[in-house]
């Protein structure tokens, strides 16, 4: 079986909003709506930190991180269970999708979604430019819509738009059922979280936070499974091994353009001002 999933490396994410906008573009999302929002974890407002500015010249307590948030494509999706007309359903490949022809606009799914991932077309959707954008037809007034993992692209062997357009390589898409896929390996190797794990929804979206991953440097817009020459880390080369992790800053070296020895890699400084 295939189960599509997404890994978002919050250590790499720079909050640039390219995913939010390219989602809107690709999916012809109406004005006033976002399927994919880049939330700031920190202060109350976008791009503000929590904590206080250091008064003593130290590094202080300020903290900020970005959390791109869209439909989490839950394994146990509450939105699917409440839909009286079975408009919201889970595809065989794990993608949670809406049949807009069936949707009656009762919005029960919106109440059930713990992630605020769904939006509703109260009015006749407005698009700029008028003819709309991207590669899917617009949805009508009166229906709920949300992220589809770009199922129309996935069906053609292409990664979702937000993944392809991330300049920080922070988003990695792939098959969670395939142990050798990059998403599976990253979930194995790095500390990952699912949002609101206590609700048991078991999202297929995972967030890396703590140690940074190598990201998604591949340059094609194909899905990993569609690539002829597999991505450089799919044989494990670029995923830091447990040993490498424990010794600190020793570089994996595999991606370096230099032969060994030219660069004297110092061991990591122990102390460091992270007070």
């Amino acid at each position: 079986m295939t189960k599509h999933g997404l890994v978002i490396d919050q250590e790499r994410c720079i909050g640039c909003q390219a995913c939010a906008v390219s989602c809107k573009q690709e999916n012809n999302v109406p004005m006033g709506q976002f399927w994919n929002r880049v939330l700031t974890e920190g202060g109350e407002k976008m791009d503000t930190p929590s904590g206080g500015y250091p008064e003593d010249g130290g590094s202080g307590s300020l903290d900020m991180q970005y959390q791109p948030t869209a439909c989490q494509h839950c394994e146990n999706a509450p939105c699917v269970k409440v839909c009286p007309v079975n408009a919201t359903y889970t595809r065989d490949d794990g993608i949670v999708e809406i049949d807009y022809d069936k949707c009656i606009g009762c919005r029960y799914c919106m109440a059930a979604c713990p992630y605020n991932a769904r939006v509703f077309n109260w009015d006749e959707p407005e698009h700029m430019p008028e003819g709309g954008t991207g590669d899917v037809e617009a949805r009508p007034q009166g229906v709920v819509e949300k992220c589809t993992f770009c199922s129309h692209r996935v069906d053609e062997g292409l990664d979702p738009a937000c993944v392809v357009n991330c300049p920080a390589d922070a988003r990695i898409f792939g098959d969670l059922d395939d142990e050798s896929s990059t998403v599976s390996k990253y979930i194995d190797t790095y500390e990952t979280d699912q949002l609101l794990e206590d609700r048991g929804t078991d999202p297929n979206t995972y967030y890396i936070s703590g140690e940074m991953s190598p990201g998604r440097p591949q340059t094609s817009d194909k899905m990993e499974s569609e690539l002829e020459d597999v991505s450089p880390w799919s044989d494990g080369d670029d995923v830091p091994s447990e040993e490498a992790d424990s010794t600190g800053a020793e570089s994996s070296g595999g991606s370096h353009s230099l032969s060994g020895g030219e660069i004297p890699y110092a061991t990591s400084a122990k102390s460091g001002g992270d007070d």
Binding site: G15, C16, T148, N165, P167, I263, G273, D274
Partner: protein, 827 residues
């Protein structure tokens, strides 16, 4: 997989039957036929994957992105943008702005027809009619060009060609500017010389012989080899992120230490191992403290200092000049300096790129002249700048200063990556000098993993003397800060007409906006070519409407960005009556009698220019869309430094001075950030205007999608500063000083140092409730830096008066002012 076309065909299982999009059926044009999956999906929604015509082109603002992109067109309309990997695929890039061109191509702010200000005529220019209330009438291209050519020629006859200024901004990265300059040169007009962001590079240049804007740095592909990166005064992850972000992240992921020096807790600071919250204007103090630490720890790179710097060179104690080899040796070459060999104590003339057992420190007497080494002088100079000594001044913890520089000095190759921000303080050039020397101490030049600036060098097209042909008699040049005096007072000479391309500077992006408006109002003719109805255009007499980048072909350089040139293929024909700048330039040239000096079509011109660069093949570039310029070195500073001695100057005996301070060694000099600045009490807050991720200078201001995320200008202010003034979060505030005012919404932001406030730059006047951020900035530049000091500005802040009309940002219009088409960009 080396070719974008290949994977695309492969994915979609079908090759392209060429469709006509106004361009030939060349390789760049891919028509994607319908794939098997074009049936409505289970969700009942039709997918258009595979049905678009895709044209590879280049996004072209001055943003250091120079991103090759694919533009998808369906039903005659631009539907989406995707990044297109360039020839060297690791330089794939794009950003929130470049991906949003669908919001720009059809925006109502686009200019459609040539226009003339209704109350302007060549003989009665009615200069006071320029500005917000100006009205325009449609004219034909021929009329517009005739009017401009006749007026320029009559000014030339009456007042000399230099009374006409050709002003070029940076709003269109292509080759057109070279033809603009060619025309200016042939005509003899005054030409513009850059006066923005040239400060730091100037200081760096004094030390190394290179650097104009920022100094060259290793290409981004090498950054992952850095072991320590000190990002200094740059929010690289916010303003420079097109893909350089991923390269810095790769370095971090490889184990590099990331240090950020910034008064603001930026996105970049949030990713740092160590953040030094320096106070504005104190960067040189901090750099000197870092030098102090290197001397104290003795972690300087002795071999590098001996081989590639003047550290061992002797300074005469009597004159302060470097001892010249010709004073010591009969056969010495010119510009050689002298060191002393350890042990023997004998003097030796220093050759470039040559190491030896030279004494780095000490006092010596050579031929009866008492001397000390340059490094001794520098060490003594920084003796007063121990981290503890500067901690209070800089606002940075002493131990953290040490940690940062120890990482750079001891962890292998790395570097300091400043932005232009420090150069936006009046005396910012001193920082350029200071960090160039600091990296000399740590030996961080010419190695893999070195970094010297927050954007890399990139590639440019070498077009020889196209812009200034040998038989021309070019007029003088005028730096940006000199414009108002020249236009208003005739100092150094009177400017009576301006022809402006690729620029929203004079009406929006230049400091002291009211003074620049006055300058514009003293002209007899102001010709502005632009894509949009900007604030600058609203002040014009004659408007040349320029097509969107997707409607002009050009060769885009990857300057400051990546080592490719890109071919900007036309995606669609120019809309309305818009015409490429080259059309107007050639049209004027014909009227002046130089028509034969300009190839008939733009493509001919591009082919001719590309033919002048041996590293580029026009047809390869045209067909591939991008071509990597193999001659661009990935690692910089591997050769002899282009200084008199061939070495980095660790002491400058011919240093310039200003305000009584000589820069033989870096000496802190401040303007409005100085603690004793006279109006510090009256205007207690420093005011900066960050580059944000939501605009490139004033470009992309109109993107509806982006405005949903970033709707209106705000004042970032620390809650403490706000509360002290009784200002609530989200309240409208009046920001003012002795030049002007603006009204914007206060945004409590703990990321900002108390005493420092910010409004992101690039907003147009239509976006402000009142005033404009450039009404607050000033046009005073330092003698040595000659660079506009946008951030060296003080303001006061108070609650906005009750009668201020903030309706444009009322709740019924959540998208901000651009949501409902505002027909003009005037205020």
């Amino acid at each position: 997989m080396t070719d974008g076309k290949a994977y695309r065909r492969d994915v979609l299982k079908a090759g392209g039957a060429a469709a006509a999009l106004g361009v030939g059926g060349s390789g760049f044009l891919q028509t994607l036929v319908e794939s098997e999956g074009d049936q409505p999906s289970a969700s009942g929604i039709e997918s258009f994957v595979g049905q678009n015509d895709v044209v590879q082109t280049v996004c072209s603002p001055n943003c250091r992105g120079k991103c090759p992109i694919d533009v998808h067109v369906r039903d005659g309309q631009v539907k989406k943008i995707e990044p297109h990997p360039p020839e060297d695929e690791q330089y794939k890039r794009a950003c929130v702005l470049g991906l949003s061109h669908t919001q720009r191509v059809y925006d109502p702010t686009r200019l459609k027809y040539p226009m003339k200000r209704a109350d302007w005529s060549p003989d009665e220019p009615n200069p006071q009619g320029r500005g917000p209330d100006a009205e325009f009438e449609r004219v034909s291209w021929d009329e517009a060009l005739d009017l401009v050519a006749d007026k320029m020629q009559s000014l030339k006859a009456d007042h000399g060609a230099e009374s006409v200024l050709f002003h070029e901004g940076s709003g269109n990265y292509g080759q057109t500017g070279k033809s603009f300059k060619r025309l200016a040169s042939l005509f003899g007009a005054t030409q513009s010389a850059w006066g923005i962001d040239t400060n730091v590079g100037r200081g760096f240049n004094r030390v190394t012989g290179v650097g104009a804007f920022l100094p060259p740095t290793n290409e981004a592909e090498d950054w992952e080899n850095a072991n320590t990166i000190i990002v200094w005064g740059s929010d690289i992850f916010s303003s420079q992120f097109q893909m350089d972000a991923s390269k810095v992240l790769d370095a971090v992921e490889n184990g590099a230490k990331l240090v950020v020096v910034d008064p603001v807790y930026t996105t970049t600071a949030s990713k740092a191992d160590l953040w030094l919250p320096v106070e504005p204007g104190k960067d040189v103090h901090l750099a000197l403290a870092m030098m102090h630490t290197v001397f104290q720890d003795e972690t300087y790179d002795e071999e590098f200092l001996r081989k590639r710097t003047t550290a061992p060179a002797l300074i005469r104690k009597d004159t302060g000049e470097l001892l010249e080899a010709s004073d010591v040796f009969e056969d010495a070459g010119e510009n050689q300096v002298v060191a002393v060999e350890r042990g023997s104590g004998s003097p030796v003339a220093l050759e470039p790129e040559t190491g030896g057992p030279y004494a780095l420190f000490g006092e010596f007497t050579v031929d009866g002249v008492a001397c000390e080494t340059a490094l001794t002088r520098l060490r003594d100079h920084v003796a007063d700048y121990a981290p503890e000594d500067v901690a209070e001044t800089t606002g940075v913890d002493a131990e953290n200063i040490r940690t940062a520089i120890r990482w750079l000095a001891t962890r292998g190759p790395g570097g300091i990556a400043p932005s232009y921000a420090i150069g936006r303080y009046k005396h910012g050039h001193v920082f350029g000098q200071a960090y160039a020397m600091l990296m000399g101490l740590t030996g961080d030049y010419g190695r893999h993993g070195n970094i010297h600036a927050h954007h890399s060098g990139g590639a440019t097209l070498a077009a020889g003397d196209w812009a200034s042909p040998s038989d021309a008699d070019p007029g003088p040049s005028l730096t940006f800060p000199e414009y108002p005096d020249a236009m208003i007072d005739g100092d150094p000479h009177k400017i009576r007409a301006v022809y402006s391309i690729e620029s929203n500077m004079m009406g929006n992006q230049f400091p002291d906006r009211q003074r620049f408006r006055e300058a514009i109002r003293s002209l007899e003719m102001y010709v502005v070519a632009d894509m949009h109805h900007t604030d600058t255009v609203q002040h014009a007499d004659i408007i040349f409407p320029v097509p969107h980048w997707f409607e002009q072909e050009d060769i885009s350089s990857g300057w400051g960005s990546h080592p490719h040139l890109g071919y900007r293929h036309k995606v669609q024909e120019p809309l309305w009556e818009t015409k490429d700048d080259y059309f107007a330039i050639r049209g004027l040239a014909e009227r002046f009698g130089y028509g034969d000096r300009f190839p008939e079509t733009k493509r001919d011109m591009l082919r001719k220019l590309a033919g002048r660069d041996d590293d580029i093949d026009f047809y390869t570039l045209f067909e591939q869309g991008t071509q990597k310029k193999e001659s661009v070195p990935i690692v910089k500073y591997t050769d002899e430094f282009p200084t008199e001695t061939g070495r980095i100057k660790m002491y400058d005996d011919e240093a310039p001075s200003e305000e009584g301070v000589t820069f033989d060694v870096p000496r802190p000099l401040e303007d409005r950030t100085a603690d004793d600045y006279e109006k510090a009490d009256e205007y207690p807050l420093m005011f900066m205007q960050k580059h944000s991720r939501f605009r490139i200078h004033s470009q992309y201001e109109m993107l509806n999608w982006v405005r949903e995320i970033n709707p209106e200008p705000q004042l970032d202010i620390h809650p403490k500063d706000a509360k002290a003034r009784g200002i609530d979060d989200g309240e409208y505030v009046r920001v003012y000083n002795d030049r002007g005012e603006m009204v914007v919404k206060a945004k409590y932001n703990d990321a900002f140092q108390p005493g420092l406030v910010n409004t992101d730059q690039g907003w147009w006047s239509r976006d402000f409730v009142k005033g404009h951020l450039q009404d607050l900035t000033h046009n005073e530049v330092s003698e040595v830096g000659q660079t506009m000091a946008f951030y060296d500005v003080r303001v006061a802040v108070e609650s906005a008066p009750d009668d201020v009309d903030t309706d444009k940002y009322g709740s019924d219009n959540p998208r901000g002012s651009s949501a409902r088409a505002t027909p003009t960009g005037g205020d």
